[in-house]
């Protein structure tokens, strides 16, 4: 079990670092390219599939880990943005709309992250579902397979979870 845990950590680290790297490389090479997390996760899978750490992992399992990593990447980036604001190093750009938009996105990601944590307390399965679908682009079919439930159940749970998350985030 301990071995699994280490392998999982390793996989997570690989996915995290690759996603982060892809994100900045893609942007620098062509700023007009849209960064879709789903595409990034897919790209990361192509890059990492030959590595021994990833080799004997199923694509579905990898996507699930990568979704977790993607979430962490965005949460870290959001915290970074907020820290940037607090740090005051760029005090003169208060009216910079781009900065405001970034801050708003940061707030949203962090709010979603917290709400998901709260959801995980009462229903880890639903939290995993939202994470996989939202951060990893997993299809309904894939989530059903991963959680060994029917697609109808996934859709139903998704709807309740989403409505709850939305009220939870709104109440902050």
């Amino acid at each position: 079990m301990a071995d699994d845990r280490a392998a999982l950590d390793h996989l997570f680290s690989l996915a995290y670092e690759e996603l982060r790297r892809l994100a900045s490389v893609v942007r620098r090479n062509d700023p007009s390219i849209t960064l879709s997390p789903t595409a990034l996760v897919h790209e990361a899978w192509i890059k990492l599939a030959d590595s021994p750490a990833v080799g004997h992992t199923s694509p579905l399992h990898f996507k699930r880990i990568a979704a977790r990593a993607m979430r962490q990447v965005l949460v870290d980036a959001a915290r970074h943005r907020k820290a940037e604001k607090r740090g005051g190093g760029r005090a003169l750009v208060t009216f910079d709309e781009a900065l405001d938009a970034r801050l708003e996105s940061a707030e949203q990601v962090l709010a979603l992250h917290d709400a998901l944590e709260a959801l995980a307390q009462v229903s880890p399965r639903q939290a995993e579902m939202v994470e996989g679908r939202f951060f990893g682009g997993l299809e309904v079919r894939e989530i059903a397979e991963m959680q060994a439930v029917s697609e109808a159940t996934v859709l139903r749970d998704w709807r309740a979870a989403k409505a709850w998350l939305s009220t939870e985030m709104g109440s902050r």
Partner: protein, 872 residues
Amino acid sequence: MDRDAWERIQDLFHRARELPPEQRESFLSGQCDDPAIAGRVRDMLAADEAEATPILDAPLGAVAERLLDDQAPPGAPDQRFGPYTVRRLLGEGGMGTVFLAVRDDLESEAALKILRDASLSPSRRERFQSEQRALAQLHHPSIAQLYDAGTLPDGTPWFVMEYVEGLPLTEYCRRRKTSLRGRLLLFRAVADAVRHAHRHAIVHRDLKPSNVLVKDDGSVRLLDCGIAKQLEGDEPADQTRTGLRLMTPAYAAPEQLRGEQVGTFTDVYALGVILYELLTGQVPHDLSRLNPAEMIPAVSEPPARPSQRALRALAGLARGEWADLDVLCLTAMHPDPARRYQTVDALIADIDHFLDGAPLDARPDTVSYRLAKFVRRHRSGVVAGTLAVLTFLATVVFYTVRLRAARDDALAESARTQRVQQFMEKLLQGGEDDAGPADSLRVTTLIDRGLLDVRSLDAEPEAQADLLETLGGLYTRFGKLDRADSLLRAALERRERLYPAGSPPIARSLAALGQLRTEQASFDSAEALLDSALALYHERLPADHPDALAAATSLARVFEETGHYDRAIALLTETARAQGAGRDTTPELLATLYGLANNHFYAGHYDTSDSLNRTLLAAYRRRFGEAHPNVADALTNLGAIQQEKGNYAEAERYHRQSLEIVRRWYGEDNPRTATGLTQVGRALLYEDRYDEALALQRQALAILERVYGSNHPRVASALNDIGGVAYMRDQYDVAEPAYRRVIEIYRSVYGERHYQLGTAISNLGGVYLDRRQYVEAERLFRQALAIFVEALQPDNVNIGIGHIKLGRTLLRARRFGEAAEESRAGYEILIKQSNPAASFVRAARRDLAAAYDSLGKKELADRFKRELADTT
């Protein structure tokens, strides 16, 4: 919200959703009398209708884009990096951006490098820190010193290193029109720096002229030592992925381009390319227009010989000399690692040979070559004539034979060094995961694999013994003590066959075994082994030899573990004197002083310990600045001393200072910060500020849960602290669940038979005892005791305490006979300890007096009453 509420909310939500909107309200009020739940469902229905959840319905891409958009270079001015502040941009390199930074307290300048496109995952950040500390230990006049490193909140690594004003190696030589000899001497200085790094198992991986700066005074500085490794994963295939962006293709060895395992031999190749450039003014292969796939065949072809492209400035060189330089340079950069110089040592040796006009080791061993070389060296001595010719030939034969023997020695030696180095490096690469018990399993798997390699080395018994000892040391570090035992004994046996009795390698083996025995808690045997190692060293080596000092330090640890603080103090004082003689405060000396301060503390010499800790504090501040974790360590110790002296407010002040440093250095979500909070919490307990203490301990717990997840021994230990405080305050409803979680965690992590589990069960038993639920308390204490008996030595203090707690329970339950038996058993174990847990001995005496009183055994009761009176 709990699980039930969530089920209920979902159920209502789905049922209401299927109704027409106007019927929902009446359905809700009919079905649900909990206004909170009904309100929530109402909100959810509205959100579901609106279908405009701000982030959940928007494409995540836009959000990701805004958050990850890092067009602006990181590290705006005024941002802080440890104790450093950024001043201005120095330049942008292949790996990242370099700024001039200033250390706040010393006003000294340094270079800050922020890596690009690199972001370490949270789990790797801490490991990264510790590796940086290893790099910071690398001191060499020609290596730019690494001062500090860390990660930005988004995981981007940064490094602070010595700021060097100078020119890149090739540029310097071009501008100054440096002579061949001058160039070779500069090159030799670079190679020497690389050799130093290799001896510390650090491979540079990105050697190139722009990473070698020459200062105005002609001294060289090697930059970025060991940094490239930080960006590579720990498995070869991870390197394929990241490899290309980390190196500079023109200087990269073929194996590096192919994404294969790199090693010291990779640096040898790059040194060869640098030499080539110094001789010809150009790189051997022009790769600038090739794509990665085309590069590999290109570098597999031998380049033009340096002599064919020689710089005009180096004209005037004899043909024979050029031939040697061709061989030297092309041997260093041979495409096949096996045919290169096997170590930087070997490369340096041939540079020296060339500078002395002696034959190269790399030269094919032909008589004509050696003759030609001989003639060049002894031009004037080679006279025509029979006698002269005979003498000459005899000399040649003599020379050839002697050289061959000497070279074989050197080769054997360097092959051995190389083997140990490569081996270590491989292990260290795999060992990057030593972050916790789970990961150390992987490390030991790796060591196991290494062991197979070592067993196949029968033909090289010295190297085999060295490696067995290395592996044994590693097993010791990772807690596989039985395996360590057999390996270290095997190493000792081999060395006893190989070396004369009492020689230093044998002493090294004895010392390693002694360290293992310390870990095994066989302190008598540890002491004997370390004693004999020390005696041997003292016979053969100078008293201040590092091996002898290391053995002394190990012996001092045995004394510390066994409570012989005075002997530890004597030994460490002597060691410190040897280490400090006429030298700066080295890291080794500071470590000795740290041990000395601790032993004085344990021995109750609080004033001495206080003054030593103050010395350490000052030394750490000088060396590392105000905000370094070592400074925090010293402050923590000063706090502990004040705590012992009863100056609780003072203690709290120190612990808070320490916490502030740790918090700033490691950030909020870090185990070290949690430890700092716990220490402040413990100080507050002494001031009877329970609620504040509890609040801090809860903060610590939350951090540890975020870092380690809910099922980790560190989390258990924090819960145990919380349980302890609550227990003291009679808040059993807080203490009980905390202790129960501790038990759950230890059970799943350590299994059923670990003494930690026993301790946790015993703590829970205490709660039941205080609640006067004696049946349950007795059951728990007996369970704990059974675990202790199974897991620990028969005279272990925990077994004693277990008996005493059980005894007290039975006494309260008025089962005096059994109570007396248990308390007595515990008492007998505790008073045999060199350092008995005084409060438990007192408790045992009190309980025994009471039990014997009730049993009518007046004499025995009186005896314990007397003892009680004598000791209070």
